[in-house]
Every structure is written in structure tokens, then in C-alpha cells.
């Protein structure tokens, strides 16, 4: 059933619309002289808060060692299945042969990634970190799949607080072990 809303009849002043127009322009005028709160985005980069979840990247420790040991927990936890890892063994003549395992290939499909940060949370080596890059684009789908090299380039170096592998090596050296 239709409802008829009773409207108040406008006064003569109101019917001229002038006070309303003037008061509206006054608000605009006031804001012209206030400090700006918006960003001119493409020209001006936003200031991202700490803990911002941008593109996932792979990082190295301060010695330049790749931290990832390809445990594939990120691949397991990734909700949109964006991560694909081919595990591999670190060759015997590498200085890090005692760590035994590293990824042969590591791919993140940035078309699939939803920036949830589960991979970072699951990582036992703190090797995958969501950093500040948020504007990802490419001309083809293939371009949007980042391989291991690209991921390390994007990630850079992130010094770690707990030097777990160094401790393993130091103990072995001290005890004259066979690592």
C-alpha cells in the first residue's frame, strides 16, 4: 500500500534557495584553506603502516644466504593455491651444504595471491615476507607468475634475529663433527 508522506510547505525564503546555495559555497570556501588530506596517488606514494601486507617476497639473511628451505608449508597453507615449490638439495660443495635443502624453483602466481599473509605466518624460517609492494601489473598472465629469481629480487635482505643455522654450524665446528 502506498504511503503518502505529508510534506511541510516551504517558506518564501526557502523557495528562493539562496541561503542554501550561499551556505554550501561557504563550506567549499572554508575547505579550500584547510590542509589537504587526500593523496595524488600515482604521483605521490602512500605512506604504508608497519605490518602492511603487500606482495609476498623471498628474503635472504645478512650473509646473503637464501633462507627458504622449501618445507612447502606456505604452499600447503596458501588459500588460493598461488604458491608452487619444487624442492631440491643444496649441492655438496656449497658453503651451506649442511642446511641440505633449498627450493629448486619457487613460483608465486600474483594473479591468485590474495595478500592474506598466511605464508609469512606459516614460514618456520622467516623466509617469505609480505612487503610493501602493492601495485602489481603485467601485460600477460605469465608475467604475473613470479619465479624464484624475481621473488628474491623483490625481497632483498632481511637480517634475522635468531641465527639458528649459524648455531648448528658453530656447534658442529666446535665438536669437530661431520657437518
Amino acid at each position: 500500500m502506498a504511503i503518502i508522506v505529508e510534506r511541510r510547505r516551504l517558506t518564501w525564503m526557502e523557495r528562493t534557495y539562496l541561503p542554501q546555495i550561499v551556505s554550501g559555497l561557504w563550506i567549499t570556501l572554508k575547505n579550500l584553506f584547510k590542509p589537504k588530506v587526500t593523496l595524488e596517488y600515482p604521483e605521490q606514494a602512500p605512506i604504508l603502516p608497519p605490518g602492511y601486507r603487500g606482495a609476498p617476497t623471498l628474503v635472504m639473511d645478512s650473509a646473503g644466504r637464501e633462507k627458504c628451505v622449501s618445507c612447502q608449508l606456505c604452499e600447503f597453507v596458501c588459500p588460493p593455491k598461488a604458491i608452487k615449490i619444487v624442492p631440491g638439495e643444496i649441492s655438496g660443495n656449497s658453503e651451506y651444504a649442511y642446511i641440505e635443502k633449498a627450493p629448486k624453483e619457487f613460483e608465486i602466481n600474483m594473479l591468485r595471491c590474495i595478500f592474506c599473509g598466511y605464508c609469512e605466518e606459516a614460514c618456520p624460517e622467516k623466509a617469505i615476507v609480505l612487503q610493501q609492494e602493492f601495485s602489481l601489473n603485467g601485460r600477460t598472465r605469465a608475467e604475473m607468475i613470479r619465479n624464484k629469481k624475481q621473488l628474491y629480487e623483490a625481497g632483498g635482505v632481511l637480517p634475522d634475529k635468531i641465527k639458528k643455522w649459524k648455531k648448528v654450524k658453530d656447534t658442529a665446528d666446535l665438536e669437530g663433527g661431520s657437518h
Partner: protein, 557 residues
Amino acid sequence: MEKQTVKINVNGVDYEVEAGQNVLEACRKVGVEIPHFCYHENLSVVGNCRMCLVMTGMPARDRATGQVLQKADGTFEIAWAPKPAIACGTRVAENMHVITDSDEVRRCRESVLEFILLNHPLDCPICDKAGECRLQEYSHAFGSGKSRYVESKNVKPKKVNVANKIMLDAERCIQCSRCIRISREIGGKDIFGFTKRGSKTEISVYEGADNESNYLLNVVDCCPVGALTEKEFRFEMRTWFLKVTDSICAESSAGVNTRVWSREGKIYRITPRKNPFVNDAWMSDSGRYVYDRFEKGNRLESARIDSSPSDKGYAAQRCVEILKLGKVAIVANGWQTVEEQFLIGELAKACDAKVYMASHVDEDDGKLVSADRTPNLRGALVTGLISEYPKPDLKELAEKVRSGEVKTVLCFREDLIDLGFEPKDFKSANIIYCGALENDTSRDAKVCVPLRSEFEKEGMWINRQFRVQKFDRAVEAPKNSYCDCEFLVAVLREVSGASFETPSIKRVRKVMCEKIPALRGCENVGKLGVLIDGSAFAHIAFPETDAMHFKKDSREA
């Protein structure tokens, strides 16, 4: 003799269990799991991990008279042992009381785990065992979650190569000694041993000795931690990604129960599955790699007519046309499922063909690799394809082809060139090859139909004990291949106008179990299989020798 039972009380609940077994086994059978590392039901008990500590007690007795003290309500006065005992090394006794979930038992478990973890490297992210590691599971369930240990951990040998099959990491070892017992008791050869003492104890192998054994990889499956890992599977894939399918080993007629682990259509490994009537918990190392046969390069990729690629439907049509010409012989094999062999029997009847088979006999190791290297030769006997043990070649059939008695050979999987045929025989007869693998026969055959490997289909096999066992499909078949049963039903329907409405394997199995008396009741054989009566074939001289759970002459005796 009737089985003797005893009454026991586990966590306040009374049970009647078989006498003579240990507490751990008795509790498991009534549904109470006691955590353990070193105990294995198929091995001797050593009791050195101390994980299965439980509180035990017996009815108290009057010291003077030796009378069992009973309370007014008929229950017993329990004299609890002052200290916990290991469940694996304690036999059940009449009216024994066991507590597996008290605070004290939980404290025991936590402390044992703390000891074990003192020198454990905690390198789960790079350990292949992660995901199926007992130590991981128990630490999660019973561990304290933190370490009080501040000293450096012991350093032991890592990445030790054992017989080129196993990677030994002594740091991860928890000294359960399962590997020592397996290689001694199952493999029949000492390979592993403890060296050094105390916390420095480490598992080691004889250096420079021949540590090779075909049952070596069983230690990898039974290692409760990642100390022994398979070289072939090393760093290939984490276990939690792998899909497990129950299967049967195709290596020999032993019919070893297996699990096939695959991900996205790729098989990563095969491990044994427990079956107390066939293989206990073991399998041969050679049987773990039978899937290598079906590597991509070896596969028959698409159907072919006169050596040119064709659609599988046309190829099947061409088969029917050729079969209708008459003078047909069928070459079946022992890798086919019972269902397929049954359909071949029907097809042989429909086109008045004789079925030939070739035996594949090799050395019998007296354990789980039997002399007959096909998994289902007994199936061909039961379905009536053959009545005698087949010869190792098909020279008889080759002669018939040469004399013109046989004009068409429908060959499944076998390589005729290997079995007595000569390339010129392919001109004098129409050879149809159906199989998953490419071989000399498929290259020259008139029609080739790509079928599926045993990992891509389901079915049943009959092993050397005449035990019917079923296996499931582990991976997807290549898209151009015909499901064996589907192909046979399609051909059979055309040739004879048979009454199979749908080519589903379940339907075929149902009809087969109705038609063949020996297979009655085998429609659903379950995980352990069903033993059928094989006495009708007692006169046949099978090549298998006495082996694990198999007596050659048990039927005659």
C-alpha cells in the same frame, strides 16, 4: 583349541582380551592407543624407548594366606606397582588393572619426550619424515612444548649413504633400534648397529661392507623419526601433499599390500600396507619402483591403425572388424585384473578363440618376491582362461600363425617378439596389440589400443595363496587411453551381442562373481582380501617356493 582370554581393566573399564599378548597390543585392540616408538608388532620387543610407560596393578593378596583380597562389593583391592611399567614388555594377566591416562602417566610421557628431544636437531622443515613422524605427533600430543636444555646438542654423522638407497642422519635418531631388528629379523642380515655410549650413542652401518638387501627400505617406513630416509624420495615432496591409495604390488604373485602416494597424477613412492595374512608390514625394495615401467616415454600414447594415429573409438571398431574375420587367438597376461580376464574368457567364447599366456618366472627369494613375476596368474586359472601352468614362450601359437591356423592374434601387453614370434609373422596374421606400454609388438601391430596401467585402474588380483585382493585407482589415466574393462566390454558387445548394459567395473565384477563359483562372495573383498578355494589347481606345479605366509604344499597336506 579355544583361545584363552583374560579379564583386564583399562582406565576403569573391564575388557576380555586374548591371553599371552602384551599390554600395549591388548589396549590397542580395545581402542586405547598407548604411544610407542620402539615397539613393532612384527618385531621382537626390546623396550628401550620408554614411551609406552603405563601404571599397572594386580589384585592384592593377603600376605599370610596368599588369598586375593576382595572388597565387599566384589571388586578387587588393587596393589598398584610403585613405578610405571612399559606396556610393550608387560604381559596381560587375569584381573590386571592398567591406567594409561593419569597425570603420572602423562608426566612420564612428557619426561621421556624431553629426554628424547634433548639431542634431537628439530630440523622438521628440512626433514622428509615431517608429517608422518611419530616424534612430531607425540611431541604435539604429550610434549611440554618448551625446552629447558641450554647446552649445545650432540653432533653426530649426517647424510650417511647406506647401500645407495638410504640417507642416514644419526642426529635425528632416537635409538629405538627398530632398523636393527628389521634388518636382522626380516632382511636376515645385520646392517645397522649402535656404536658409542650414553647420549653419544649413534646408529651406524658397517663401513665398506655390503649392506645391500632387497628388504632394506622397510627400515625407512618403520623409522619413527627421520633418521633413515629414502634416497629416491629425498626432498621430492612433503608427505602431506600426497594422496594415499590402497593398492597391490604388481611385482610378483606374492600380492604384497601397498599404498601408492601420488600428487597431481604423479606417483612419488610406494610403501607397504599392513596385512597380517600376506606381508605383515613389509615389502621388497624392488616392488617400490614398479611404477617406473610406466614412465612417459614407455607409454603407448595414442591408438594406431596400420601405424598411423587414430581415435581410440575407431581402433576399437577396427578390432571388432578384424575379430569377426575368425581364426582368433588371444594372448592374455597375469597383470590383468580378474575382471578383465573374465571378460577375455567371454570374448574367447564369443569368437571361438583359444587363450594363450606366457609365464614370467624368475628367482624366488622365499619372502615377498615370488618366482611368478606376474601378480594375477591364478586369476587366469580361476576364470578358466588356462588350465595348465603356461609355458615361458608362445612358440606354439607362433607355429599356428605360420601354418595359417590362426589368422588374428589379440595380444594384451605381452611382447610377442620376445616370446617366440618373428617379425615376418606379423605379415601372415592380423596382430592387434592392446596395452599400456609401447614394445616391439606394438610397433608392428595392425591395430594398437592404449590401455591403462595398474595404477590407473581398479580391479582384483589373486595372489599365490589364492587370496583375492582388490586395488584402487591411484592416478588419472592419460586421456587417450581406454579403460581395459570398457574396451573389452565394447568389443565383446559388438562381437557377441552380450548383455552388459554399462561398462562399469562393478557391474562386470557382479556378473563375474555370479558366474564363477570359486569367486562367489568376492564382490567386496575388503582391505585384507578373501581367501578362495584353490584346491582345484593343486595338481599344477607352481614355481613359487615356501615363503612368508605361504606354504607351497599346504593345500595337498
